[in-house]
Amino acid sequence: MPHTDWAIEAKNLTKSYGSVEVLKGISLRVERGTMLALLGPNGAGKTTTVRILSTLLKFDGGTATIEGYDVQSAADDVRSVIGLTGQSAAVDELLTGRENLVMMGRLYRLTKASATARAEELLGEFDLVKAADRPAKTYSGGMRRRLDLAVSLIATPPVIFLDEPTTGLDPRSRLAMWEIIKKLMAAGTTILLTTQYLEEADQLADKIVVIDGGKVIAEGTAAELKSKVGKDRLELTFSNAKMLDQAVKVLGNRVADSSDKALSVTIVIQDNNEDIRTTLEVLAAAKLNISEMAIHKPTLDDVFLSLTGKQKSDVSQRIKETK
């Protein structure tokens, strides 16, 4: 195996369908044994990137290597070191969970004995023992995802692509999936995860690459990305418009944002709690009654919105709808 520090390395990938440019030069690198989250709204190019890196899709320009193997010229070598799960892969619905696992194991060129033993082990790990001999079409959404992930792990490949592994799952199944992914990370697997859930990237990934419109628009750790957006903010809501106007006057140039509709004013909190106390005292002295108060930590949602400049991207829309 050719040696390189990067388990996944893509340089300047481009891909067009006719005149539509889907990828406009994506570069990313994933250090061996870490997880990179590829974050972006629908249509950003996440799945296209994963499909290219997992040898499913030809691309127009750039280079990509997995564990040092070129995805175009050494596609079979790449396929023997990767596993793919998620919206761009599937399981056989008429076969049972066990049959799926054994068949895929054999296709990874495992011996029959190895494939059978490993299938048994994975069924146990993924809590599918009871359902092992039922056709996969009878599985619930969460079970099917678990089987899907188990299938891609049958030959314990060192690199795993998880393409939106929790999209459409209920909260409990999502947490179960996160636990499984964390175990994989602990075992030293290199993972590239795509997601439109900021929380997911925040919870799991070592590093995050934000893409939008086929381009990388930011990258770094979750903390780095958040610090770009700034400090914690205090949002104060008043009972009527008159009080709001007065509050805006009293606070002067500290006002970062105000909303007549929500009757609220937002200020950026400086370094300590003292700042919150003095602000509240100033308002109390002006006899302004605060009806609601909230402290906002910058979220990746903010990061995303500020980076893409979209007020209502698919992501925030979706998150609001699900709340």
Binding site: T55, D92, L94, L95, L107, T111, S114
Partner: protein, 269 residues
């Protein structure tokens, strides 16, 4: 890791055959597990045979050579018709795999991609063997008799296998092209219906008008039907056998690489 994984080290070619065997096993499991389809494979031939024999029997038997019953005449036609219609299943299976993303899964594995097509096409032979056996048994029950020898039956089996293979590969092309299972049904309807009915499968060519007859007697289904029929009735097969074999091999030689090429192209965009 509790389980020690052992990988097989086989030459590429052997590994590719192994992949195809795994895919054949998969497709056969599909056939045996899909109870609707299996019922279809079982009862559709019975229905067709009994209906055609009873509805057309009286009218058509006058046009037949003396001493040949319509049931004995029909048997070859209905077997070939069932096989031709059965190839739709290959098209549907290929189309389904492409739609549902399982092909992507296979393509992300270090396997031979064409094994998927091989699996569906070869498993078609299994389903058609079931249908044909059911039909022959039903025929025997309602009075079908044949003077064919064991050797004749072997020839019949051989030509039907070749015909099934060639039509299944054609169907695989349809499956790759079609955007949905409905489209498959429509496409095969447009291709297979005219081919089977504008042939000598159900009626002799003598009563057809000139244009229809010219088409009917020169198309592959007629050649296959006539070959099987001659063997069943103990008549000389003449040129029909060679024509049937040339057609089937010709279709195979074109359809196999074309299906493979289209499949590769479709799945790497």
């Amino acid at each position: 890791m509790a389980v020690e994984l052992v990988f097989e080290k086989k030459p590429r070619f052997i590994a590719a055959i192994n992949d195809s065997l795994l895919m054949i096993k998969r497709s056969c499991t599909h056939i045996l597990r899909n109870s609707d389809q299996l019922l279809g494979a079982f009862f559709q031939p019975i229905m067709f045979l009994v209906l055609f024999a009873t509805v057309f029997g009286g009218a058509v038997s006058k046009a037949l050579p003396p001493g040949v019953s319509y049931l004995d005449f029909l048997m070859a036609g209905i077997i070939v018709q069932t096989v031709a219609f059965g190839s739709t299943t290959t098209a549907i299976a290929v189309c389904n795999d492409l739609q549902k993303g399982i092909v992507d899964r296979f393509r992300s594995l270090p396997m031979n991609n064409l094994a998927v097509l091989n699996g569906h096409v070869i498993s078609d032979l299994l389903r058609n063997s079931i249908s044909t056996t059911v039909m022959l048994v039903t025929g025997l029950v309602i009075g079908f008799r044949s003077s064919a020898s064991v050797l004749d039956w072997l020839c019949i089996t051989g030509i039907l296998l070749l015909f099934t293979l060639s039509f299944s590969w054609l169907a695989a092309i349809v499956g790759v092209f079609a955007k949905s299972v409905e489209a498959v049904q429509w496409l095969t309807f447009v291709i297979i219906f005219p081919l089977t009915f504008a042939s000598t499968a159900f009626v002799p060519a003598e009563g057809m008008n000139r244009v229809l007859k010219a088409f009917a007697v020169n198309q592959p289904i007629t050649h296959v039907v006539e070959t099987v029929r001659a063997l069943i009735l103990g008549k000389p097969v003449g040129d029909q056998a060679w024509l049937a074999i040339v057609w089937c091999v010709g279709i195979l030689v074109v359809a196999m690489p074309l299906a493979a090429w289209l499949f590769r192209r479709k799945t790497s965009q």
